[in-house]
Symmetry: C2
Subunit: 287 residues, 2 copies
């Protein structure tokens, strides 16, 4: 009944007897609790956030639904282990294109232990986080029924992309031409339907930004924005169901009356990339 998810692009994966998340057939995602403080901290965040009546509904929709925790048989055969039960963000989607973008030029909280800070700082400097305010943690872009997904395997490479390379991938995410082919110019055929419009990704990012300009309750470190869309729907002239969700809350700290300027800065940087693609002269006619 439980199986390894098909469309996971980042994080520990539960294949080949390793410990990773599982999904059921009714839209629930089981994420193993990390054994240390991170596991309990993530439960604490979901518990606090899901019961926080000050968070407006139009913001809550950017977070996976939280159903509690449960002991289930872990994917690595290590027996019954505690799991977070969350909304399966790929449930009911057909061949979703997914980008996992870790937001913030800094992935460490000032309260974290010194060795953890040094480890994160090194990674932030080696990846694109410090330069761009975010880094790509994983991605899969659907190409066609024949060729399937473009899913770069070298995680270390995607994390240290230059501004131009990020631009190119954000274009491929909304293009009809093959993603993997080196040097092909993305046509951005679906830029206006995926990124643009009142329900598009840019509009959702701007809603999130407004909230981050005000909220002083949570500081999100090492948290990702998951961008998803379904290219096949767009190809058939339908709404591509583009949306953003925040994921990974093992390093959320109390904001103590200060905004999360680190997340907000990175979010604004991402917004700039997306809005530039929308205003550029990409090929915009339908294929």
């Amino acid at each position: 009944m439980l199986k390894v998810p098909d469309h996971q692009v980042a994080g520990h994966q539960g294949r080949d007897g390793k410990l990773g998340p599982l999904v059921d057939d009714s839209g629930r995602f089981f994420k193993p609790l990390q054994g240390d403080k991170r596991g309990t901290d993530e439960v604490a965040f979901y518990t606090s956030f899901s019961s926080n009546t000050l968070i407006p509904d139009h913001i809550k929709r950017f977070f996976p639904i939280f159903y509690g925790t449960q002991l289930i048989e872990a994917s690595d055969g290590s027996g019954m282990q505690p799991h977070l039960i969350l909304q399966d963000l790929s449930f009911g989607r057909s061949n979703p294109s997914v980008m996992d973008i870790k937001i913030g030029s800094r992935t460490w909280s000032p309260q974290a232990p010194e060795d953890y800070i040094q480890k994160c700082l090194k990674k932030d400097r080696e990846s694109s986080s410090v330069e761009l305010g975010f880094r790509l943690s994983g991605l899969q872009i659907f190409e066609s029924k024949e060729s399937g997904f473009w899913k770069p395997e070298k995680r270390s490479m995607t994390q240290s992309l230059s501004a131009d390379e990020i631009r190119s991938i954000l274009k491929k995410f909304v293009s009809t031409n093959k993603s993997g082919v080196l040097g092909s110019v993305p046509d951005c055929a679906f830029a206006s339907t995926v990124y643009g419009g009142s329900g598009g990704i840019l509009s959702q990012l701007l809603e999130l930004k407004s909230w981050f300009e005000e909220q002083t309750t949570y500081h999100f470190y090492s948290c990702s924005i998951l961008m998803t869309c379904e290219k096949e729907l767009a190809l058939n002239g339908k709404n591509p169901r583009a949306d953003i969700k925040l994921v990974d809350f093992a390093h959320v700290f109390e904001g103590k009356g200060v905004i999360d300027h680190n997340f907000l800065g990175g979010l604004c940087s991402l917004i700039k990339f997306v809005s530039e693609i929308l205003s550029e002269d990409c090929v915009t006619e339908p294929r």
Copy 2:
């Protein structure tokens, strides 16, 4: 003809035979070029910025006017030295209250030398920069003709203020009661005239923010926002001439198509502090 400025709150000061800036009696401020790369970098920035026709006038007004460079007799008696000639931001002002706020949780560029990065990082973590996204580099608040200015001398203390202490100082900046008295509750009598209104500081900060959401030409590290107002004018029911100016451009780098998410994040944090004071229940009736 040249003298040491009266209202400098941060940076090297030219008193007692030390090297520091000088002012003339026609509104010009002479800043000695720092001997190393910082000096030439600051000249390069002012030269680039002042001739950049893409910067709108309503943004240019937030920067000191640049008149070029000149060899003049240095304040430390070391003979003729190169100086930047800038607008004297205190010229024509009577007893200005001034806050120098260094913006950004990070004061170092990724391109800087490693030993400089480590020095800055240490200071960013020890001060309020990492937590709040900015730190107070200096301040003077005018109290009255009798008692003069409140000007905390311990620079290291002002730089590591907590969120609550920053809030309190931002309130004192717009209050009639004595600033130095421990525990006195600021009345915020001038919050609406200094921070609020269409020409007030909040509105200016928001204009600057809009520009930082778009501009990808410059990244400003270790740069300050100077907030100034004249309390005596407010006491007499006049416009307190509140304004903001950006200063200190020895660490400006090319943005290369990416927004300055570090400066923007810190700016948004400062904006949140100021807007909270405006919306709070301070005493708002005229004294």
